[in-house]
Subunit: 201 residues, 2 copies
Amino acid sequence: MYSTCMSGTDTARRLVEATQELLWERGYVGTSPRAIQQRAGAGQGSMYHHFGGKPDLARAAVRRSAAQVREAADAVLAREGSARERVRAYLEREREVLRGCRVGGLAQDPDVVADPELRAPLAETFTWLRGRLADVLEEGRAGGEFGPGLDTAGTAAAIVAVVQGGYVLARSAGEPGPFHEAADGLLALLDAHAARATPAS
Amino acid sequence: MYSTCMSGTDTARRLVEATQELLWERGYVGTSPRAIQQRAGAGQGSMYHHFGGKPDLARAAVRRSAAQVREAADAVLAREGSARERVRAYLEREREVLRGCRVGGLAQDPDVVADPELRAPLAETFTWLRGRLADVLEEGRAGGEFGPGLDTAGTAAAIVAVVQGGYVLARSAGEPGPFHEAADGLLALLDAHAARATPAS
DNA sequence: GTCTATACCTAGATAGAC
DNA sequence: GTCTATCTAGGTATAGAC
């Protein structure tokens, strides 16, 4: 599942990968067919042969980036360890913080949210991620790691939001510090729940 | 302080306001001088008479939007009530969730973060906001509302990040629900700290 | 499949008349 | 102060040759 394999020729693959990079760096409005062609080393004819145009190419690129983001998150959340440790690993895993999220960043673009086919991978990614984190938290609660009162769905939503908002704070500040401060702050709040579940003897 | 008054003529004011609206709706790359002029009801000549060009106009608009965001947040955080209640009011105040944040949304734009004069108002706004929220939390801690172990700075960063990330989740989903789920989830985590400070007898 | 030529529109700005 | 030309570059796409 979450396959990132691609059908089609090598040129088509390079076009999609170039589009993924440019969407990440410049967003949808900031990405031109010309720039895509140059980065992919392909001509106009190739691009319009394989894809119907910029929106078509963007849809393929966004779907692939979304699948990759889900794969990367799942790789961390499926590891061994306590729920708290897996959440911590997710919050603090190596991230190119100042680049932001390949998927979440696109939500700022009005042309993306206006196109159902472009927005769908974003919605699916965050719905899946919130569910995946809620499952991890539920495992922890069932194992006595957290108090029974932990709102797993709400906490999961807060975790995802802190990551996405952390990118905003870091990019605004021009340095990654605020991302980590927000993540650490959230973890500390979660630990208060863990402390309640297993009070110091 | 945080004055949003503007110097200059009526035309200059309309140009700045039109730019503020367009930056909010379409971002920096998505906002053209032509669109600004049309929305402001001004001609080319007027715009280039009052401002040096698109970057100059954008700097004025971003500074003003940042000041307005700080004013609005301060109005909520300076109200009467407990710290917990003021944080809740900040998280749940009326927001046009699907429009996102006038200031934070610009952090996604590479041309904004690359220009120190454009990025500075973003950095100042979030630095101020985190400090203001940390002060509110500190008041609550001093008053016994939270346990002494509350990390006020980290929690403040998490609150701001949840709001900014909540916008991302809501815009991705196409509906405001995820914003409020994340905000409620964070509040519930904070309440665990309040419960520890004043355990049920 | 890939190339080049062509087309039309917009971005962003300057010059000079009024 | 505001207007109307005018300009160069790029965005986005189609047509048709190879």
